[in-house]
Symmetry: C2
Subunit: 136 residues, 2 copies
DNA sequence: GTAGCTGCAAACTCTTTGCAACTCT
DNA sequence: AGAGTTGCAAAGAGTTTGCAGCTAC
């Protein structure tokens, strides 16, 4: 599915500069939820002339286009991931590892709750923070 | 229930200085989820000599003691509320108003999901973002 | 050709911290 | 008395922005 992000960006009217291609590639290949700094470091390995300002600007654009999701896992900075499919996160408090999950029951419940409060659900955020259960 | 926070702080070994009393009072009386700046402004109305550094330090202490909950509603800064009872938030995207709610079904579901992933749930975060349903 | 994009460095916002003075207990 | 707390100002982290030059379309 490489290049899919590029197509969406072009369609949105963004110019496909060399820097943007690199940043999009980094995001598409990421299997984690990289910080701006991490995206910057990985992008620099491909094109060392990229500046962090461009990374910030690009990520903000992608966020506005909803091509990317910005997370703030209570760390004081943002982390990003491509907005492929809808899921939630469980953060391992001991390792920082982020586990993704989906749950249909939860989706229904969210809408039901919002509706009961008199609202149309536009967006939401659910994060679980836990510790791995130790086997004996 | 005024003064309850003060008692908990004393019990935790914190000195009850004039500044802390003022900040605790502001938090107890708040019916919203004030930012640090907002707490500072309200505190200054009671004692204009309070510095924002003290507000930051006090809120961090209260957060460590779990007497207060720190929120980061994707705004780029923190907002606080006294940790009275457990609930979640629905943020009105049009007005910024924050509606609180509780839902037993949701509590159970959270634990079930974490367990299925092999985790003990330590903490979590759920926020809904919506728009008020217009009546005709 | 030109609107949009970039790198650089400076600026900005939110938050933390070193220090000397002060204050609860 | 003494450990903890404070205000101030400076520093720190993360992020944004003005500008002159560059580039995709």
């Amino acid at each position: 599915m490489l290049k899919e992000l590029q197509q969406k960006c072009s369609k949105a009217g963004l110019k496909m500069t060399g820097q943007r291609k690199v940043i999009l590639q980094v995001l598409e290949e990421a299997e984690d939820h990289p910080s701006v700094e991490a995206v910057y470091d990985r992008a620099k390995e491909i094109d060392s002339s990229i500046s962090i300002a461009t990374v910030y600007r690009t990520l903000n654009l992608l966020d506005e286009l909803d091509l990317v999701i910005r997370h703030e896992f209570q760390e004081g900075y943002s982390r990003y991931e491509v907005n492929w499919d809808h899921h939630h996160h469980l953060v391992d408090l001991e390792t920082g590892e982020v586990v993704e999950f989906q749950n249909e029951e939860l989706e229904k419940l969210k809408h039901k709750i919002a509706e009961e409060l008199g609202y149309d659900l536009v967006d939401h955020r659910l994060e679980l923070y836990g510790k791995k259960i130790k086997k004996k």
